[in-house]
Amino acid sequence: MNSSISFQTIRFFTLVLIQVLICNQINFLGYINPYIYILFIILYPTKNNRALFIFLSFLLGLTIDLFLDSGGIHAAASVFIAYARPILLRSAFGVQYENYAVKFNTIEFGSKLTYITFLTLIHHIILFSLEIFSISKIILVFQKTLFSSIFTILLCTLITIIFSRKTK
């Protein structure tokens, strides 16, 4: 149990640092950045204290906001996907989730990809609509959501594949 807590803490800080120091400097094609810090929310153990999990997600988003001077947009998006996660888990993994048997290292690739995709899309759509904050620029919101999502999903999937081998 203790090792799990310290593992999550290390993951929290590593992801924050990677996000603000590397991923936000990429600016691919001018404005496309991956938001890989949501891996913390994606990979958080499914058997958890939900209130604590939502609070941690809020803290994660707020830390990112603090670094990026973006008000509360990352906090809002993170809290939302943390709250919506059980619904997505159920739709992606079905019975496996009901029995608390979801282990992110062992699940099959297809359902993992759907799960990551939906979580990322929801996160990015909230993030960018709050960032741009104007209905007249809705096309820009969708454009940013689409391109950044592709980048995020690709990176998150790669990272989960690369690091799942070691922990086996």
Binding site: I54, F67, A75, E131
Partner: protein
């Protein structure tokens, strides 16, 4: 009473979610109104310190190009100095000259940002260097932004690439003025709106600051006219301005303090 407590216990996750979500929305709304982002800003010792450490390393990677820019500026200033015919109307008065209206402080950008809709930069000067809110920030090539929050050693700058920002600028040729805004699309193009229809504009005209706002001196270069059209009501021009500054690569900046700013605001708002 019992039922209320039961309700709270039953829905505690949902209520927590609602609380945290509304707190973040509140922060977001605050950050969208000018000069209101009080709590969440990167000008504190933790984030400022992290960015400073990283910047100390990354600054080496483009030393060459930044030196090039600085030497170009030196070149320009030298030619200005030796070719000037005792013009007294120049606003680029150095702080050493007596009775100067503007005081310049040089600083380094330690965090740049140009991809978001509301871009905020971080510089390594703060209250200890007597930097305060509403000081202007320029580079050798042109205008950059306005100081927003300050901590002891760091300050955040609202970039001109920020949808909440609006700076008074004018056409150099005809002196018609308008406000410089940004539509969040291209980091090399800003928009100049509210230029009266009567103005004669041509593509390639230079845009400079108007000096009407007490933040920036007159005639700081902004950019050139790339494209212009009348707005929907056909009363004002909307001009696409190609910025002189490459906003994606800024390093050395100057912070401008208008020493008379207080006097001017007092005069304009007697209360």
């Amino acid at each position: 009473m019992q039922q209320i407590i039961n309700f709270i216990i039953r829905n505690k996750t949902f209520l927590l979610f609602l609380l945290l979500f509304s707190v973040s929305i509140l922060f977001t709304i605050q950050s969208h109104s000018y000069h209101k982002s009080k709590f969440i800003n990167s000008a504190n010792f933790l984030t400022g310190g992290v960015y400073n450490t990283v910047n100390n390393i990354s600054v080496y990677f483009d030393l060459k190009s930044q030196n090039q820019i600085l030497s170009e500026e030196n070149n320009r200033l030298k030619s200005l100095l030796y070719n000037s015919e005792n013009k007294n109307d120049s606003t680029y008065i150095d702080s050493v000259s007596f009775n100067a209206q503007y005081r310049f402080t040089s600083a380094n950008i330690i965090r740049n940002s140009y991809t978001a809709a509301d871009n905020i930069l971080l510089v390594n000067k703060g209250k200890n260097d007597s930097i305060k809110q509403d000081f202007g920030v320029i580079t050798s090539k042109g205008i950059l932004g306005i100081i927003n929050e300050t901590s002891n050693n760091y300050a955040t700058v609202i970039s001109i690439l920020n949808t909440t920002n609006s700076i008074s600028a004018k056409l150099k040729k005809t002196n018609h003025f308008g406000s410089l805004t940004w539509n969040a699309k291209d980091p090399s193009i800003a928009q100049l709106v509210d230029i009266a229809k009567i103005a004669r504009i041509e593509i390639g005209d230079t845009i400079v600051t108007s000096g009407l706002s007490s933040i920036f001196p007159k005639n700081i270069p902004v950019g050139t006219v790339e494209e212009f059209k009348l707005d929907d009501a056909e009363n004002y021009y909307e001009i696409e301005v190609k910025l002189f500054n490459d906003m994606t690569s800024v390093e050395h900046v100057y912070i401008i303090e208008n020493i008379d700013a207080k006097e001017i605001t007092n005069l304009l708002n007697p209360n």
